[in-house]
Every structure is written in C-alpha cells, then in structure tokens.
Symmetry: C2
Subunit: 369 residues, 2 copies
C-alpha cells in the first residue's frame, strides 16, 4: 500500500518554521498537540548519524507552552505533580510527571520557572491545559492559564554549543543542565534553556512570538554553515538509545510515574501538595516497569506500535512500544514495559515481530547512552 | 514539493477499522483526538458524488466518547454548556456547545443520554476529558469520568436508511433525528443514533468494544453490496454546503457559541447551571459571526487554512476557514467568520487566495443544503 499522505487542515496547526521545514525537504510528519511535527528529513539513519556528528535545528513548536501565572500558580502546579517544586529556582527547569488525582500520568512536561508564581509548562502530546483550567475553575484558584505564542527551536548535536555561543554568547552556551538564561533576539527578550529531547548536547530556544520564527531559523542556518547545520527532528533511534520516553507511545494515562521509571525524580517522596499524594505513596513499588530491551538477531525495521512480549510458556509478560536498529551500538534497541518478575530475566523472553519473525529479547540494566 | 506522508506512531491510535480502511485504499489521513481519521478515498469530488448518491461506511472512531456516570453527572455536564439539558430524554442526543467559565468554546460535542446520570459525550478534536476531570476533582463531585472503548461507524448517504433497515430492522432505520435505539450485534447490546456529520440521511453506530469492529464493518459491506456501499469519510465539500462547522477549523477556543452561530440551540437562554451563565448573557449579540460565503469566479482548489477577508479599503473584516468548489451548486462554497457590519453586505468584499488571485465574495443568508 502507498503510505497515506497527511491532509492539510487549520485544525492541525502549522508552525512559524513550517515553510522552512518544507523547504528543507521534510519527508514525513506526525501530529502532536494539534500541530505538525517533522519526523524524517533524509532517512531515519542519516538524520541519526548527522545528529550525533554535527548540529541540527529542530522545529519543536509542538512543545506547546501553558503559562500559569498568579498567586496560586505554584499551588496548582504542585497539585498535579508528585515532584517537589518548592525549591525550584527562578532560572530552573524541572521534568515533572503530571498526574490526575488517581496518580495516573496525564502528561510529562518540562516546567520552566520564569519568576515567583509564573511558569511555562512545556507539554507532551495532550491538552492538559484543560486539566489546569478545570481544577482552577472548580477550586476558585487565583491564577491565569493560557497558551502563549511561544515556539521552541531546539539546537541539537555536538556542535550545538559552538553554534549557540556564536548566536547568543558564552553565558548562554555554558548554561548548566536544565537552567535557562535570557537572550535578546531582534530586540525581544527571550529565554534559552540547556535542555532538549536527545542525549546529545542541546538547547531549547523559547522563541517568544511567531513573528520572530523565520528570522531565528534563518540566522541559525546562516551562522551555522561552517558546522554543517541541518534541519532535524527528534530521532527515534537516538531517543531509544538514550531512554527518552514518549508520552502516548511508551507511557500513557494507564501508568503511574513509578511504572514509567520516574521514581528517580521523586527521591524525596511524593510531595504533600499533590492531589495524588496518598494514592502514589501506595504505588511506589510498581508491578511493571519501563525497561531498556535488546532484540536479538538481524536489524529490524523501526517499530512504533505496541508488540507483546511473552515468556517461554507463551504468557504475555509485557510489551515493547518503540524499537529500531542502532547503527552505532550494532544491536536492535527497544523500550518496553515489563512485568516485575521478569526484570532480572536475561533469557527466555520472546517477541513476535511478525508471525514468521520470532526473536529472543534481553532485559538490560540501563539504556545505551 | 512532494506531500509529506504521515508517520506511524502508537501515540496516533489506529482504529478497529484501520485495516479495512487501508484495504479500501485510503489516500490521506488527518489526526483527530490522537487517532487516524481518513480524509480521501478516491478523490474529494468522487467521494462527494458517491456520498450524495449511494451509501458509505465511515470510520469516525475519532469521535471519542467520554463517559460521565454518577449522581453529579447531569450537574457537571450542565456546568460546561449553556444549552439546557434538563429536559433531555433517555434516548436523546443533543449537540452542545461546550464552554469554559469565560464562555469560550472548548469543544462542540454531541451528548448522548444513556440513562439518568449517565452520558456519553461524543467529542470533537480536543482532550476535554481533562476539563471534566479537573472540574470534578476541584469541586469534589461524585462522578466517574473515563473513555469507554466505543468506536463509531457512521452510515451515510441516501441509501443508508435501507442499509440500516437490512442490518438492524425498521425500528432503528425509522428513528427520529437525534434519537437513539438499542440493537444487538454479535450478542452485544449497542446503540445506534440517527445522527452524523453530513446533511445526507445518516446514522451512527456506537460499536461498543473494539473486538466487534471488523465484523461490523464486514457485515455492512456484505449486506450493502446491492447499494454500491463504499468506504467514505467526512467530505469537505458536502460539509461546507451543509454548514457543518469543524471545531479547530471554523471555530475555536477564541469564539463564543454565539459567534459560532449556535445561538439557535440556546433559544431558551443560557442555562443557569452553566459556569459561564453570566458572561454568556452579555455576549448574545456577537460582533462577528460564522457565515456561508460564496467565492466568485473559477473553481478553486480546496482551502483548509485561514484566509483574510477584506473590504474595499483593504481593511480585514473577517476570514474564511473552509472552502471548495461545489460540483452540484456550481459555485465556490465557503465558511467564514465575518465582522458584524458586513453581514448584510453583498458587495465589495474580497479574498486574496494567492497574490495573483483576488476574488469577490458574497455573504449568503443560508448554507446551500
């Protein structure tokens, strides 16, 4: 079958960079937060090699921002996450599992603190702005919640540091991990954070105002010429190697943060201000957990759908949600959710990729990079 | 440029019918409520002619259901809509503008009453389940809110009545508009409603359980052979002719129900149980309104993005959001939002489709069918 194309629709928003993305030859799109997300430019593998070698500019406008501002901003943010945000500093970003009152994940955003009681929540793919609004309206909280016109460009790859330094100076290129600093672009103050959805060196530029988008893109390409800068996008292979979870793919609304392996962000326990405080306290020992998984045998085609994992008796004991051949590690890398009794099992676990293609798989102790 | 294809992803759910949809030769997809929505099978125009002549089976699983059940179900539903739902009967469906407390639309679902304090909300493209959950949690309402595994097949076109009669009997085929009845399919009780997103004769089968999907599809095709049944999907041309609005395209979170032309559903005024009761009372006379619009001149290519409407002085006085050539009405049909002082204006309004293609447009009194 010919792969269906994606229909144009205002409902699926273009970004300030879409014109440039298309001029750069985007081959396929996904839709994320009602917006276009590029997924391949050259080939998945060529994009991957280039990302790990040079520098890429990613249109990740789909990381929509929810601005929460007002006297109750910190309170409402703490209500929806078990992670303690009380010590967050004004230039800090936190990856926060976001949960409903039953402790199930409804998003896994990065919260960016702009000042006291003012945050941007950089969201994964679900309209959780409605959850904040519903809570605020139901409880009569003193807070304003809206989507600002902010469209992130992510600068990715080993040469991103030098590109960011040329663009914004050393103060920005040397930011610490998950800290942000202020820059001036075309007369507008914006923030840049040392963050991004890869394990390469990376930055996120919070381009504040659609009207700055195309200029920003062009400037990165003009000063990045010497570093072989290219248009890129989150890369399936690289993010599996790095263990970066995709909400909606690897984890979803049926999972707790502990099942998602995010317990490490909750080392001080579940924050008392979280609506799911009591429930999550009883769920710290999950019965299933996100794991790095090696699929043996020949290189596989990318897997972006759910495949059951079975034990030697043919019983389903988990699933794989993302997998691909890793050219660098010369192995098929995968992310999956595995039942507790098999976490240490190195043998006798199987995956039927197709009816005729049965593979042995291994649960790994850690991700590849 | 080659039209980008759509990437596979678990995050963008397939439906119980996707396999059949692809066997039927779907050419393009959209994404709606994190799920695949077919948009063209043959060509937009051929799909249109067939829809108005014969019968089609539409996979509209993307109309996800939100089940609201419990003592406070009617209360929470009334909180989010200005339409009075107190007189809704147990076999009735209501089209309800759904608003936040400021009176702005956050969805325009069909509410299906199943019994006292139990509803399915058949939603347009936004995750408003979070709004219900946020409100319920914030106010401590006694209600359970979740997404049931219901995947609508819509039977569409002039021959849909006879197909439904052959499938489910006369009691169902002769249902009144926006009423539903119970059927038994493969031993499972399900509901069928006389509703659907076209102005042709149509029905919606609320297939209750993914496991029934493929059988249901196959049975409709097997008994529909004599009526030239085909796979179809919501058709841009037909829905513009009929004035069926698309949330996210023609209307969005910046509009009130009155601007969307939905005042007709609020003839008894804004319901007092609605959170936006007071605000909406002050917004009954909108300053801009959804209008049917004729674009003069040669047949246009389909427009699925926003284009500004200007007056003779070049001032922007509105926008067109959906437009296409209508083979039946032999005119370019469009939906747009127009500023109040131009509602009666038949002349001197213009649209720049491209820099070189400037058209005169006319505001119409009503839609074409």
């Amino acid at each position: 079958m010919k792969q269906p194309i994606i229909s144009g629709s205002s409902r699926i928003r273009r970004t300030p960079y879409s014109k440039r993305v298309e001029e750069a030859g985007v081959k396929s799109y996904s839709v994320y937060n009602h917006m276009l997300l590029p997924t391949v430019f050259d080939t998945l593998e060529n994009d991957y090699h280039h990302l790990k070698r040079a520098v890429q500019v990613w249109d990740v406008s789909v990381e929509r921002q929810i601005e929460i501002i007002g006297p109750d901003a910190t309170k409402i943010l703490q209500m929806v996450t078990p992670r303690d945000i009380s010590k967050m500093e004004d230039d800090q970003c936190y990856y926060i599992p976001m949960v409903d009152k039953y402790g199930y994940m409804i998003n896994d955003p990065v919260a960016v603190k702009l000042e006291k009681n003012r945050y941007w929540i950089s969201i994964a793919d679900s309209d959780v702005i409605y959850y904040f609004k519903g809570l605020a309206e139901g409880m009569g909280l003193n807070v304003n919640i809206f989507e600002p016109d902010v469209n992130i460009l992510s600068i990715q790859g080993p040469k991103s540091k030098i590109l960011i330094e040329k663009m914004f100076g050393k103060e920005i290129s040397e930011l610490k991990f998950f800290r942000h600093g202020k820059v001036n672009f075309n007369g507008k103050e914006m923030i840049v954070a040392r963050s991004g959805w890869s394990h390469q060196m990376c930055y996120e530029v919070y381009a504040d105002g659609s009207e700055y988008g195309q200029d920003m893109w062009d400037k990165f390409f003009s000063i990045g010429k010497d570093f072989d800068v290219r248009a890129g996008c989150p890369n399936l292979i690289e993010r599996i190697e790095s263990g970066l979870l995709s909400y909606g793919n690897d984890i979803n609304g049926n999972n707790t943060p502990y099942e998602a392996g995010l317990g490490k962000f909750l080392s001080s326990g579940v924050s008392k201000g979280c609506l799911a405080y009591e429930i999550l306290q009883s769920k710290m020992d999950p019965q299933r957990l996100i794991k790095p998984i090696e699929i043996t045998g020949e290189p596989i085609k990318p897997i972006t759908y759910s495949l059951k994992v079975s034990n030697a008796d043919g019983e389903v004991v988990g699933q794989i949600s993302s997998a691909a051949w890793s050219p660098d590690f010369k192995v098929n890398v995968a992310i999956g959710m595995i039942d507790r009794e098999y976490w240490k099992q190195k043998n006798n676990l199987f995956l039927n990729i197709t009816e005729d293609d049965r593979r042995k798989i291994f649960i790994k102790d850690k991700f590849w990079s």
